[in-house]
């Protein structure tokens, strides 16, 4: 039992932090809020040079062969730096499902191109019903040999505006079925949404969009469950990094900002907020890593599922408390667009909502407790 990082993880964390401080500075984050693509292709290439898109991908497919815990260490740094772009959608929404159920040919075709940064993927799961469960998949799918055709509407698809491929979930009479759908076909119509986080989420209309069948007809939901779990925990890692940075910025501000002749951080009201923030950040970090560890080390299914739901339930709410305190400590300046703290407040909301908020996951915890 050891809750510290391994040497490799320390190295990964430090190099990622250094890299992102230089390559994904606040100004880039702000520019990408207004940018139509929402990411910097230059940064994307550099990240691929770091081996990040392929971190999880086995070496035989051009990746680095790290495990999911390592990836979460990296994503924590992404949250800290608020790195814009389709990293999570490509890795969690593309590489993970391909690794889980892709055929050897599909792995060989796509994984190296993901690792090299040549393609962008995303997961087209949710629909206007905005559900994360099997029943939420109403989009129709029809299978013809190795090909699958989709009709329906997907909503809140991350980075669909720049994705080359979507992993789409549709429904045949055998059940949920997945396909790898190229976006450069007439049957795919992407309409971007404006969001609180100024990230890129889109409505995707599928009108006879076709692609390769991924897995078998009807086994899509079983295949998606681990994908959703990994993606959910990755969102937690992002939240932890984001909240850690919000907290650090706020503590620094509390030390510098003087009112009534003394730093506001010397007032108990501010001190106690900061104490609660670090409790929430740390609590979120470990509950997230516990879930990541469960997934990475193939713990028993029931334990893993519980730990994933616990992580998202806790991180969603605890980090919300953190960013709310962060705003309050900053006072008026924190409400201005020009000051950085608000970037964290707005992005927390997106990740809080992704794959279900605290209430959603608390319900799943209650069900698993048998109450």
């Amino acid at each position: 039992m050891d809750l510290g990082l391994s040497e490799t993880q320390e190295l990964l964390k430090n190099s990622a932090r250094d890299f992102l401080e230089n390559e994904s500075p606040e100004q880039l984050v702000r520019d990408m809020e207004e940018d139509e693509a929402g990411y910097s292709p230059e940064l994307w290439s550099k990240m691929a040079e770091q081996g990040w898109q392929g971190l999880l991908i086995p070496e035989e497919h051009g990746g680095a062969g790290f495990d999911f815990l390592d990836l979460c260490v990296l994503i924590e740094e992404f949250g800290r730096a608020l790195v814009p772009g389709p990293f999570m959608s490509t890795v969690l929404g593309g590489a993970v499902p391909l690794m889980e159920i892709g055929s050897d040919e599909q792995k060989a075709e796509f994984l190296p191109r993901i690792a090299s940064g040549d393609v962008i993927f995303s997961l087209a799961l949710t629909e206007p019903s905005a559900r994360f469960d099997e029943e939420g998949v109403e989009c129709t799918a029809s299978v013809n040999g190795n090909e699958v055709t989709f009709n329906g509407t997907k909503l809140f698809v991350p980075d669909a505006n720049v994705a080359d491929y979507l992993i789409v979930a549709g429904r045949t009479d055998k059940g949920v079925t997945l396909g790898i759908v190229a976006t450069d076909q007439p049957g795919v119509e992407v309409t971007q949404l404006q969001t609180i986080a100024r990230d890129k989420q889109a409505e995707v209309k599928l009108n006879g969009a076709t692609g390769q069948l991924l897995g078998n007809d009807g086994d899509g939901w079983d295949a998606l469950k681990p994908v959703v779990n990994h993606y959910t925990v990755a969102e937690c890692a992002y939240l932890v990094g984001l909240a850690q940075m919000d907290f650090e910025i706020s503590v620094d501000y509390a030390k510098e900002r003087v009112q009534f002749g003394r730093p506001i951080g010397s007032f108990q009201a501010i001190q106690h907020k900061c104490a609660d923030m670090v409790t929430d950040v740390d609590g979120s970090r470990f509950i997230m890593y516990k879930a990541a560890w469960s997934l990475a080390t193939d713990q028993p299914d029931a334990d893993t599922q519980m730990s994933v739901n616990m992580a998202k339930a806790w991180c969603s709410e605890a980090t919300r408390r953190v960013v709310a305190h962060g705003q309050q400590i900053h006072g008026g300046i924190g409400f201005t667009k020009d000051y950085k703290i608000q970037l964290y407040f707005r992005r927390q909301k997106r990740a809080e909502l992704a794959f279900g908020d605290a209430d959603y996951h608390r319900e799943l915890v209650a069900q698993q407790l048998g109450i």
Binding site: A269, A324, G332, F335, L353, E363
Partner: protein, 405 residues
């Protein structure tokens, strides 16, 4: 203990309600509102849109007929001289109809302050122009390094003959983009104890050396400004009240209705619309599928709004009985602003993934995204006009007599 109107109060309430029905321009009626977007008289008044400008003017004219532009001003200054309870009923009915108020800070703050502290010349010059809508006012109190600790303000006003020469910077000067005149607190005696060297001064916002720069907030709105003063020359006669006593002029407890009833009414309406939305066919699409796990949270918001109403009623009851609210006003601000934030959060929670949506338009924006926007927009409510921390300090020390830290 009585939550109902006396016969006189009921009569007055009916008069106000009927007036609003008859005279409120269509543009300001709730039926014409989309997604809770309230048209602002302040903005309309200077709009390029003729209909907007006409509506603003017609509404101001209608109110002026009744003396209801400044219902709380004494009649001798052109107000309606309403009692506190009448003001309360007036504000209540206006809020129920979500009718845009008229006159802004000139009516609400500058006028009453000037009526108490201004010279006859000042009153004669400024008050009629507030009531006619000719002059709109903005407030310059806060500074970048004088927020919660307002009395540490550093904008300097130095005597030069009959003038004061002002240098410094104000921030959060709300409405300055629409304003013609500014009232501000400036430091006229730097060596005095910090509360004792401040003067309350008024100035034309077009005076050379004044620059107003809008602040873009975290919701991409521009309700606030920074205002810079570079060798701004203002006649010393523009000081309102005694020189160096401006802190006390600015902090005068003005004897008009301060219950905050409008906020309570607004939150109640917002919550009602939120609940109704979920029951409508259009709205049910945007409610999260498992929204029923939030039923008790919604009920708790309803309770809080009920509590907030009572806090408002208490203030006006006290005032009506000749008492001056002490810590009670801080309780209202504290509880109201925190309720506001909780309400916006509950709204976003009910919408699940749809709470991502910021755009007001289109089929994917629940209630024109008003809750998501208010989740951001309500952030400063616990900060401005006395943060929650300051309110709790005030309640504890001024209200409960606990010793200062």
């Amino acid at each position: 203990m009585d939550w109902s109107d006396s016969p006189e109060q009921a009569t007055f309430r009916e008069e106000v309600a009927e007036f609003i029905v008859e005279r409120l321009p269509g543009r300001y009626q709730s039926g014409s509102r989309e997604g809770g977007i309230v048209q602002s008289w302040q903005a309309d008044r200077k709009s390029v849109d003729t209909e907007a400008r006409d509506s603003a003017m017609n509404w101001a004219d209608a109110l002026a007929e009744k003396g209801w532009i400044a219902p709380h001003w004494p009649e001798e200054y052109g107000g309606a001289g309403l009692t506190v309870m009448e003001q309360f009923i007036y504000n209540q009915e206006m809020a129920k109809a979500a009718a845009s108020p008229v006159g802004g800070m000139g009516v609400s703050l500058l006028g009453p302050t000037m009526i108490v502290h201004g010279s006859d010349e000042q009153k004669a010059e400024h008050l009629p122009r507030v009531l006619s809508g000719e002059v709109a006012w903005a407030q310059g109190y806060s500074e970048p390094s004088a927020g919660s600790d307002l009395a540490s303000l550093q904008t300097r006003a130095i005597r030069d003959g009959d003038d004061l020469v002002i240098n410094g910077q104000k921030i959060w000067t709300s409405g300055a983009q629409y304003a013609d005149w500014l009232f501000a607190l400036v430091r006229t005696e730097p060596d005095a104890p910090k509360h004792r060297g401040i003067s309350f001064i008024v100035m034309d916002i077009k005076t050379p050396g004044i620059t107003v720069r809008p602040i873009v907030d975290m919701g991409w709105q521009e309700p606030f400004n920074e205002t810079f003063f570079e060798d701004v020359r203002v006649p010393a006669a523009n000081i309102v009240g005694e020189e160096n006593r401006g802190w006390y002029v600015g902090m005068t407890l003005l004897d008009f209705e301060r219950s905050g009833i409008s906020d309570a009414i607004q939150y109640e309406r917002t919550l009602t619309r939120l609940i109704d939305y979920g029951k409508s066919e259009a709205g049910a699409k945007h409610y999260r599928q498992d929204w029923k796990i939030l039923r008790h949270e919604v009920a708790e918001r309803y309770l809080e709004i009920g509590v907030l109403f009572n806090f408002a009623f208490r203030i006006v009851s006290m005032q009506n009985n000749g008492m001056v609210p002490n810590y009670e006003a801080s309780v209202n601000k504290l509880f109201g602003s925190e309720t506001h934030q909780r309400l916006s959060r509950t709204g976003t929670k009910l919408f699940g993934l749809y709470a991502n949506v910021w755009q007001r338009e289109g089929e994917h924006a629940p209630m024109n995204a008003e809750f998501t926007r208010d989740y951001v927009g309500s952030v400063p409510h616990t900060i401005f006009s006395g943060s929650s921390e300051i309110q709790r300090n005030v309640i504890a020390t001024r209200g409960l007599g606990l010793p200062r830290g």
